[in-house]
Every structure is written in structure tokens, then in C-alpha cells.
Symmetry: C2
């Protein structure tokens, strides 16, 4: 059927986390090695020695082929630099398709350049919309979707959104959530982790708290309320607050560090994904403002309280274990107490969140090249000439 | 009803032509001087003395209030610079709304910044989609539409497109085409123009040709074919080829200058809009790759041959006087001969292309501020929490 040369597929990655998430797809592309060439484009600068040892030696992640060297920064500079560098890169490389995921400035910048040059765009996690509170990520996601050619959706809400935006059914692919694939991939490493034990935690005997959104971490009232709720919950079971060093600094600055101790309410800054996975897997309850944790808790069947007023991961609420509580201490403690009292774990998991998402995406992309030639991207219109 | 302070409306303009087009809207905002403050943002650098004399003394256009000083250039640099400068400007100015028109890099750059800061976006000429050949303008238009809050559409095709992309009916406003307002506004000046006379042309006795798209002007085969068609037509009636100096240079470079003379096939580089309008008004036939000319010919009831393979101005084909002929000499001459033989003028004009578009837009925007407070922008989703 297929008779052309190797098709170049640029996979855009903008962070460690993103590389972990996308790595199962790179693995699955291997089965099409004879006609698909995945090229990992990392939008930032090469990794430090420490990061490289962790990512490539320990996690055995695939190494990026290209670095765009875009500096971290505010959206105008970050999106702009990405667009400018991606334009140069794509003009020279002439890829047949780029794959972006999520709604980062890196995703938007590369997508704009690809669209302008006429390169097909596949969007993983297309169609996610966070109602009410419109963040930069939400705006970027919508813009990337507006110029994408293939939409890989995680759940039926995202599917409905993408369809409602006028995209033809044949461009939308309900493939499930690739984060589950990544979680499964690194679970064997997590099983060897000594992190829970070193913190004196027993399986199903503690709550896991993590915050990273600036709407929470840089807001004194929010942080004070959330930490007081955590303290309350820690009377029933230990609470581990896992955070980035940046967040620890904020907590210190707010004078809230004294709430923590080494037994009931533990502040722990953690670097490695398998150790974090180990903590997740043993938790009786998760509390978070992270998208990944909402997804992973649902896949693991562990109750999750989301400390935001809304979520783009509506599927975790409708089909999974997620409850939206906002940054309100009374709501957090009330929901936590109910969960701790019941100690039940649900087994309901959103459809196709089964660890086979990367394989589905790779198969669909491979198939698309056996029937669609590059350079035939089209915008749907009510065109009387066609 | 309204009780707040002056609402700041930033009107984004990126060229002389754009300023002419948008000026009727500025005029109409005057009736709301007590609560709307239109602020003209020109994305480029201040005008030369010559340009300023033409625009402000002769055409009496409103002067821009802010200049972003973005340099002309390729899309990545131009969009990026606009985004970065607009971000600074909007952060300081805190406008309540920005108005962009069309699908320029300036429109995209300012729209991204407005969306990220949380400023409402009104898009004039929303929903236009050029099927098949996806240009930079088409891509920008789609992206701007994906993050706009109010859609001002020129015709029912654009209305259908915007609706099909999932935007709620109450955000879409079928107002007609503001280019007609601009045309009407400057028609009195056009009536005083001595340009047609100076070229020895009589009303309804010549064809007007204009090209500016690089797909034509930098393509030798296309230009050769189009000019040979023009030469053929000039045996029936004089053909005036009006062009920018850049296009004249291309023609010279291609060695096609010798086809022109001062009587039948005239090459004329022209600077001023009223003179061009005068040439349009007297033409028996227009041939063009310009969007504005497709629109104006339909409004004037003059037959138009569009030298492109497709158009975003589908309304001019369905409801107006436009015929798509592509850059093919046989098609151009065949269509021209038919028109010249009939010498009929149609009076069919697309709905609401009546010169009252600017007034409609101003009224709708004014009304929106009496019921919607700024900062309430929403992305439509199937949200179970609402």
C-alpha cells in the first residue's frame, strides 16, 4: 500500500513531564520504523547532567533529537521564541507532521509555525476545555485545535467539544489518555521505590497533597486555608505535601512552614516520577490542583479532591474518582472525612484509559500516511466550489 | 442603564488600507462619546510626512493614538513582535475590548495578547474561510476566531462558518461589510478625481486590472498568462493595470513591460484611494486578486473576474458580480468577452452591504457594555458544573 520514503514525524516536547508522558508513543512508533521516523523536538535547552542521568539512564527515556533553546519566560516571549525557532527548524527539516500535546506556549508556537508552513498538525489532548476560569493553557488549547488536522481526544467530553467546533468526525480519534500509558510504563520502577517507607507511610494509610498552580501557591489566603485543612485531615491520617522547591519557598515566605512536622503533616520536595508514583499508589486519598494527578487518581481508583474551582478533566468527575472542592478548607475537610470514613475505592475508570492509548495513536497516524499525502491540509467551509 | 466610567475600545489597525476601512466605525463611535472611548492602535511605525498629509489632511482620517512600531517582516517575527508589544500596551492601558479585522499577523498577535490578559475580542470579518488554498491570512483568521468573543460577519456564508465552529448565536452579528461604508465615505472625493480623464478613459469604457498577491506577481507563468489575456482584452476596450511599485518591478524583471503602452494596455502605479475608487466606478469590468476589489465591484454592480483559484468572499460569487477564473488566460479572456458583449450591469448586492455596517457594529458594541461587564469572557463547553 505505502510506497513513499520515511515520513518525518516531529514530536514536540517542552518539559521533563511532557517527555515522560509522550514516551510511550515514541515506543509504539517503533513498530512502524520502516516508514515513520519520529523526531523528538525539545523546545527548551539541553538537560543538565543531573537531569540527563535521571531521564536517560534511570527512566531510559528517548533522547530529544533537536533542541530549540527557548528560554522559560512569560507567554509573549516564550510563544514568540518558539514560533521563530520552530519556523527555522521546520523550514529546514520539512517534517510531514508535527505532534503537540496539551496547551503550552510551546504547543502553540510550534503549531502556528507548522500551520503557516503547511505541515499537518496532530493534537494530543485536543478538545479539553476548562469552563469558567479561562487560563493561558485553555486559550492555547483552543487556538491549537483551531488549526489542527488530527484530534486525539482523551474522553467523550473532549470529543463533544471538538465536534461542536465544526471538525469533521473523521478527523477526531477517541484514543483515551496517554498519561495512563506513561503511568503503567513506570509502575515497575515505582514498585522498587523506597520513598513511602522512608517517610513511615503504610499503603492506603495516608493522604497525598500536591499543589503547583500559582493561583493557589502565590495566594496567601488559599495556601493558609489549604494547609489548615491538611492539618485537620492529618488528625485522621498522615498527610504528605509533595511540592516543588518553588512552592516550598512560597510556604516559607507566607510563614506557614511551622504547620508541618515529620510525622503527621509532612512537607516533602520530590524530584523523581517513579517515587511520586509510589506515593500515589499507596495513598488513601489525593488532594491536588494538578491535571496529571486528577487523571492518575482516577486510573488508580483512588479518591481525589481537586483544589480548583473547575477542571478540564471533566471525565475524572463524571466517570472517575474526582471531586471538585475548590481552595475552600471546609469543603476539603468535609469531603476528606467522608472518604476516610468509607475507605472505599471505586473501580470506575474513564473509557479507554487503559494503557493502550499510545498504540492507538501510533496506529492511526501510520494509517493516515497510507492514504493521505502531506500538503493536503484543508479548512472545512461551506464551499460552493467543492 | 449604564453607570460605569468610559469604556476603552482599542481598534487595531495595521496599514493605510486598514485605517481607511475601519474609519467609518470610528466615526460612528462618536455617538457614544459619553461612555465609549475608541483608541486607535497602529501596529507599525508613525507615518512619513507624505503619508500623513495624504491620510490626515486629504482623507481626514482619524489619527492613531498608539504606535506599536512593529517592523514589516515574515510572519514569525511580525506576529511575535506584535504580541510582545501589545502585551505591554494592554497591560498598561487596560482596555475593555479590542477590535481586530481580517487575518493579518497584527490581528493575530494583538488577539493572542488580549486573550491571555483577559480582554474581550471583537472580530470584524469573522468566519471568512477560503477553501482549498490555505494562506497565512486564512490560518490567522481561524485562530483569531477561536479566541474571539464577538463575531461581526459580512455575509451568511461567514455566519454559517462561525456557527458551525460552535459559537453561540448570541455572539454572532450579521452586520454586512464595512468596506462598503468606507467606499461610500470616500466616493465624494472620488468624484473629484481627474485620474480616469488623465488616462483618456471614458465611463463604462475600460477594464480595470489589479494584482498584488505574490502567488501571482512573483510567478512568471501566471504573470505572462494574465498579461497576455489583458492584451487580448485590450483589443475590445482599454485595460488599465493598476499596481504597486513592487509589482511593476516584478513585471520589469520578468521582461513583460514591453506589453504595455499608453493607450490600450496601460500600466499605472497609483497611490491614493479616491483616485482608485474613481477608476473602479467607471470600469466596465474589473479583474483582480484583491479581496477589496471583489467586494467593491459587487457593491458597485460591476462585473469582476477574480484571478485566484478560490475566494473567501463567497458572497460576491453567490450574491454579487464575481466570477472565479483563476490565473488562466483562456478563462479570463472568455469570461471578459462575454461580459463585454453583454455590457450588462447587475444590481444584485449581498445583504447588508449597504453602507450601514459601521453603525450596526458601533450600536452592538455600545449595547454590549450596558449588559455585559468586562472580564466575563467564557469558552463554551459542555460543562456539567454550570
Amino acid at each position: 500500500m505505502y510506497s513513499g520514503g520515511l515520513k518525518k514525524i516531529v514530536v514536540v516536547v517542552n518539559s521533563n513531564k511532557n517527555l515522560i508522558k509522550i514516551s510511550p508513543l515514541i515506543d509504539k512508533f517503533a513498530r512502524y520504523y520502516d516508514f515513520l521516523e519520529p523526531i523528538i523536538l525539545y523546545t527548551s535547552s539541553p538537560f543538565s547532567k543531573l537531569e540527563a542521568a535521571y531521564l536517560f539512564d534511570e527512566l531510559k527515556l528517548p533522547k530529544p533529537h533537536i533542541y530549540l533553546n527557548v528560554k522559560n519566560g512569560a507567554y509573549p516571549e516564550c510563544t514568540s521564541q518558539t514560533m521563530i525557532e520552530a519556523d527555522k527548524c521546520f523550514t529546514e527539516l520539512k517534517p510531514d507532521m508535527i505532534i503537540v500535546s496539551g496547551g503550552s506556549d510551546a504547543a502553540l508556537g510550534t503549531a502556528i509555525s507548522a500551520a503557516r508552513i503547511g505541515i499537518k498538525i496532530a493534537h494530543i489532548e485536543a478538545g479539553l476545555r476548562c469552563p469558567g476560569n479561562v487560563s493561558g493553557t485553555d486559550i492555547n488549547r483552543k487556538m491549537v485545535d483551531s488549526i489542527s488536522d488530527m484530534f486525539f481526544v482523551t474522553d467523550c467530553n473532549a470529543h463533544t467539544n471538538i465536534k461542536a467546533e465544526g471538525n469533521p468526525e473523521e478527523s477526531i480519534f477517541f484514543v483515551g489518555n496517554i498519561m495512563i500509558d506513561a503511568m503503567n510504563k513506570f509502575m515497575p520502577l515505582a514498585k522498587n521505590s523506597r520513598t513511602p517507607e522512608s517517610l513511615g507511610l503504610v499503603p492506603n494509610g495516608y493522604a497525598l497533597l500536591s499543589l503547583h498552580r500559582k493561583a493557589n501557591t502565590t495566594n496567601f489566603e488559599n495556601m493558609k486555608g489549604i494547609i489548615s485543612a491538611a492539618r485537620q485531615i492529618s488528625r485522621s491520617m498522615p498527610v504528605v505535601f509533595v511540592c516543588y522547591p518553588r512552592v516550598k519557598e512560597e510556604i516559607k515566605k507566607f510563614g506557614l512552614l511551622e504547620n508541618f512536622n515529620e510525622r503527621d503533616l509532612i512537607l516533602y520536595d520530590l524530584y523523581k516520577y517513579p517515587d511520586f508514583l509510589a506515593l500515589e499508589k499507596g495513598a488513601a486519598l489525593m488532594m491536588t490542583d494538578s491535571g496529571t494527578m486528577q487523571v492518575e487518581s482516577s486510573a488508580l481508583g483512588i479518591p481525589c479532591l481537586t483544589i480548583r474551582k473547575n477542571t478540564e478533566w471533566i471525565a475524572t468527575v463524571k466517570e472517575g474518582t474526582n471531586i471538585i472542592v475548590g481552595p475552600f478548607p471546609e469543603k476539603i475537610t468535609a469531603a476528606a472525612e467522608m472518604i476516610i470514613a468509607n475507605k472505599t475505592r471505586t473501580t470506575s475508570v474513564p473509557k479507554y484509559w487503559d494503557g493502550n492509548t499510545a498504540a492507538r495513536i501510533a496506529d492511526i497516524i501510520a494509517k493516515s500516511f497510507t492514504r493521505i499525502e502531506p500538503g493536503t491540509r484543508k479548512i472545512k467551509t461551506n464551499n460552493p466550489f467543492e
